[in-house]
Symmetry: C2
Subunit: 450 residues, 2 copies
Amino acid sequence: MQNDRNKILVDSIKRLLRRDAASHLVKIVNKTHAADLAVVFRSLSHANQHKLLDLLENAEQKAALFSELDEDTFSDFVEGLEVDEVVEILEHMPSDDVADLIGRLPEEKSDTILERMKKEGSEEVEDLLRYDDDTAGGIMVPDFIALREDATAADAIRSLQKEHMDVEMPFYLYVVDEYGKLVGVCSLRQLVVVPSDTPLKDFMTTDMFMVKTDMDQEEVAKIVAHYDILAVPVVDEANKLVGIVTVDDVIDIIREEATEDILKMAGVGEEFVETKSVLKSIRIRLPWLFACCVGGIIASFIISSFQESLSKVAYIAAFIPVIMGMSGNVGIQSSTIVVRGLATGRLNIRDLWSVVFKELAIGFMLGIVYGLFIALVAQLQYSREALALSVALAVVCSMSLAALSGSLMPMLFARLNMDPAVATGPFVTTAIDIVSVFLYFNIAVTFLGI
Amino acid sequence: MQNDRNKILVDSIKRLLRRDAASHLVKIVNKTHAADLAVVFRSLSHANQHKLLDLLENAEQKAALFSELDEDTFSDFVEGLEVDEVVEILEHMPSDDVADLIGRLPEEKSDTILERMKKEGSEEVEDLLRYDDDTAGGIMVPDFIALREDATAADAIRSLQKEHMDVEMPFYLYVVDEYGKLVGVCSLRQLVVVPSDTPLKDFMTTDMFMVKTDMDQEEVAKIVAHYDILAVPVVDEANKLVGIVTVDDVIDIIREEATEDILKMAGVGEEFVETKSVLKSIRIRLPWLFACCVGGIIASFIISSFQESLSKVAYIAAFIPVIMGMSGNVGIQSSTIVVRGLATGRLNIRDLWSVVFKELAIGFMLGIVYGLFIALVAQLQYSREALALSVALAVVCSMSLAALSGSLMPMLFARLNMDPAVATGPFVTTAIDIVSVFLYFNIAVTFLGI
């Protein structure tokens, strides 16, 4: 439904742009939520993107649209724009969104933009750019409400009324000491329910979650999700409060990380289907297929080394696909369980051996079930016990090994602090293909005596 | 890090339980966050789960722990518990959590529990149980703050202080008319910044997001994530406000849905590695492998129908793995891009043909690159042009078809309102295996004249 609504919006804006129906467009564009407008924007040509931007009434609205854009769309679009025009819009955006967008631009471009921005804003952005993109520092918002512990609830409410109109999502108030060190937190809700002359220190919580600027964004997301909090304060090495990470950014991280894992497991790098051209897609996917290609070629060498046996008993070739397919699928099952278990925190890398042994047991038992079934088919078709036995044994061995390597490889990758999702997909399946072909031919040649 | 901390906690609680170090345990258990305690609880034996529960000081803490448990752990544990003991704990839980947990119990058990619960609570739970688990109604919290539009900001703050101490996350106040119909919303923040005698109708937002009780939870999650809101009101057919869905539940939904998609694509049903025994895992994974097994057997029939050609030119068997592997991988790339694109809303089912044609083009061009490469290897190895040509042609055709079917199948499934993730994984790869073997042998036989 959400998709349908967006599609209808995209279609009608495109139609109006073709017809140059300016007054109609102004009305639609200015009453559409920036998040929806960003979806439309992404699917327009450069010329129409410019038209759309010009239709927005003021810099605030343009800024709201820019805040919703993904980095690729932004950097493509901004190439053709005057620096001054960009700067005017960026001035109206939260500094964390500015940092995200211009962090992707070529350095000279981003330097020019930062120079022309007002000093206060550009300093905040430069501070944010110092942090890695995927750490707490890189995703935090530097705007938050911080008060001293002897301030009263009434003081806090006054400061909410006056100073902090531009703070995103102010549901927590942070309490800091004279050095800016975080000492407590109170909720907006507590603020309105206590007598107004109560000092913050009397009702603030001192036992709160906080994260360091260099914590990986996935860890931050896990904490926010695990403890059901709306924002987590970010502190520097001296525990000085420097920003907050809000739950809406956490949602984006969780979705991104899930998508990245899925794409890596499928061997598609970090492609997104709708923003890339056919050529770019090919460039991204080509290298991932290389492992599979090399694996297949190795398998072909293995098979051709059995050429003589094959010309004597040609039908052993018939079972190559089923043995490769079954072991490949079991391997993917095991590695997916492990990769997703690690990502969601339901599996721990310290449990390596118990997980791997369990998967091995599962692979072995599934191998026995399907090995017997496929052997039965082989026996009915060819009435040759030695062949049926070879097939059964090859299925059991290769499915067990597939489950073993499918679970072991991502676990080992995770232990070495490498991304377990990369170890899955093409690499695991390719390794399994080679091993299962090798095992099958050796077993068949031995049993059939050829 | 989060994982490490949990692991340490689990280990030390297990150690203390073995040593029966009650006083030490009481201290640790009662100061641990319920979300962490739930992780520990999940990994304990039944006997130790009972011990742990008894260590908690009061029903509130037990209720907090229960609220964090997943349904499987809860229903396993609760089997051995006295109904009265369960009821006492459930009485202290939010009704949406109670509904989630007892919704999974056998009907007679849940009926007994509901009968013994206090009337007010059990009615709320029964109301919630009427909604499907995965709809807005099934995930909403029935506790929210709703006021009439002529109430003032001061009235609202008073009602916050008095009545609504048990409302989860009260950052929005909803405004309803005399029939309970939702007419507006204001934020807690607005409440403290306006003069206290302002009536809500003067500053409430009337243009707000709301969802119907029967909206799919994935749609609800998309709306909350897309518009960066903290809670969305749920209304019935008459637009009467009946509950809210909060952002913390949306995070859980997004993670669950991503995990489900990943597991389905890998053909593992909805298994979670740590809660299931080896036998349960086998039962879940066995049927998913059946498609692959049948596909492999069909491929073996195809190959054996070429038995005569094979015994003449045995080495054509050598290229079965690489052709199957390459087309299988391209098919997975395409279907993953489509499934994830649909799930994140970046792809629209109305764009079916443009997406499928793009994937076909990508598959075709990747097929040309790798087809030539593999043909070159074949030529160097066997010096037989007809073989090299057959291999090249088979790679191009099967990779193009794989990309086509890999993108078309999930798109069609989605159009038919079926889960596109199920169409991926085992089914797509199995179909591709059969087609690529069939194509390769027919091409080879024609070109090699055997």
